[in-house]
Amino acid sequence: MARISAGVATSHVPLLGVAVDQGKTGDAYFGPIFAGYDWTKRWVAEQKPDVIVLVYNDHASAFDANIIPTFAIGTGEQFKPADEGWGPRAVPDVSGHPDLAWYIAQSLILDDFDMTIINQMDVDHGLTVPLSMMFGTPAAWPAKVIPLAVNVVTYPVPSGNRCWMLGEAIRRAVESFPEDLNVQIWGTGGMSHQLQGQRAGLINAEWDNRFMDSLIGDSDAVRRIPHIEYLRETGSEGIEMVMWLIMRGALGQRTRLLHRHYHVPCSNTAIGHLVLEPD
C-alpha cells in the first residue's frame, strides 16, 4: 500500500528561484538561507520519495481572475514551468502521477471535498522553488509531483481547519491506494510577509516560531487560528501558512521534528522550513 512517510514545510519566495538559476546560493545574502536546506537535501536523497503531493498557491499564473478554484488537484502527465512575465524558469518539466492523482481526486470527492480537477496547467514559483530548494539543479526532478493548488488570494480563502481536514482526507486516500509508494506531502508558502500597502515589509519572527512549534507533537490548536490573526500578525501574504496545515493534517495525530530552519529576510519574506515525520 502507499503511505505518507513525511511532511515538509517551506517558504516559496520567487527570489530563491532566481538565486538558484543565477548560481548565487552561496553568496553572503543567500548563503545562510540555503545552508538551512543542506540537511534536507541529504535526507530527501536518502528517502527517495516516489511521489510528492505538493501544496502551493498559484500567483496569477495558471489561473487568472476568471477561474478561482479553492482546492485544485493536477492530474496531468506533465506540468511546464510558467512564464511569470520574464520567461519560464529554466528548470525541468514537472512529471505528475496521474494514477495516484486521479485516485486521490475521486477519494476526496467521496470524502466530501469537492475538488477542481486540472489536466493541463503551468506551475509557477510556488511549486518549482520548493523543488529547487530540496533537489538543487538536477537534469530531471527525481520524484513525481501531484500539484495541489489552494486559493489564498481571493477572500474568503479556506479556513485553517478545512485545510487540516483536507490533509486528513489526503492521508486516507493515499493509504488506500493499492500500489506500494513512498509519498511525501509538502506544504509551502509563508512565513510572515506583506507585499502591499503602507504596512508592507511586516515580519513577525515570534509568531512564526510559535506557529512552527505548534506543528510539532500532538497539538491541533493551529487549526483554530482565524484568518484575521494571520493577517494582523503575519501580514496580508502570511495567510499562505494555512497551506502548511494541509501537510500537518496529513501526518496524523502526532509528529516528530527532523529538521527546522528560520531566516529573515529573503526579499520581503521570512523563510521557514520544517521536516516532520508521523510519530
Binding site: 496569477a60 487568472d64 477572500y155 502591499q196 504596512r199 511586516l202 519572527a205
Partner: protein, 136 residues
C-alpha cells in the same frame, strides 16, 4: 468543529488593519478588468504593444478612468484601492523591470534603500500596526 464566521464580522475586521487592503470579493469585482489587463502582460506580444503605447493599450480594457490613471501613474496603493491585486499588478511592475522589493517599497513611503535596510534589519515590527481600533 464548524464554527462558521459571520460573514459581516469576518469582512468588517479586514478594514481594521492599518495600511492593508485585503482582496475581498468586493475588490475582486471592482478590479476584474484591471487585473485581467495586468494578466495580459504575461504574453510577450502584449508587453510589446503596451510598451509601444500604454494609453492606447489601456483603451482595449473596459476599466474605469481612475484605474487607467493609476496604472499610468504606477500608483500601486491607489490601484489596490481600486480593486487591483498585488499578484496581478506584479505583471505591470515586472514589465517595468522592477523587483518585488523595488515595487513594494513604493507603497510604503520609504525609498527603496530605506525599505531594503528595514528588511535586512529584520523587517517591520507588527507592534502598533495590528489594529486601527485597538492600536496594538
Amino acid at each position: 468543529m464548524s464554527d462558521k464566521a459571520d460573514i459581516q464580522d469576518y469582512l468588517a475586521a479586514f478594514d481594521d488593519i492599518p495600511g492593508t487592503r485585503i482582496y475581498t470579493a468586493k475588490r475582486a469585482r471592482e478590479g476584474y478588468h484591471l487585473n485581467q489587463f495586468a494578466m495580459s502582460l504575461m504574453k510577450a506580444e502584449n508587453r510589446d504593444a503596451w510598451k509601444a503605447d500604454e494609453k492606447a493599450y489601456l483603451q482595449r480594457w473596459p476599466m474605469s478612468e481612475a484605474q487607467k490613471e493609476a496604472v499610468l501613474a504606477r500608483d500601486y496603493n491607489r490601484l489596490l484601492d481600486l480593486g487591483g491585486n498585488i499578484y496581478f499588478l506584479a505583471k505591470v511592475f515586472s514589465t517595468d523591470g522592477l523587483s518585488f522589493v523595488q515595487a513594494v517599497s513604493t507603497m510604503t513611503g520609504m525609498t527603496v534603500e530605506e525599505y531594503q535596510a528595514m528588511m535586512n534589519a529584520g523587517g517591520r515590527s507588527p507592534k502598533g500596526v495590528r489594529s486601527i481600533k485597538d492600536a496594538y
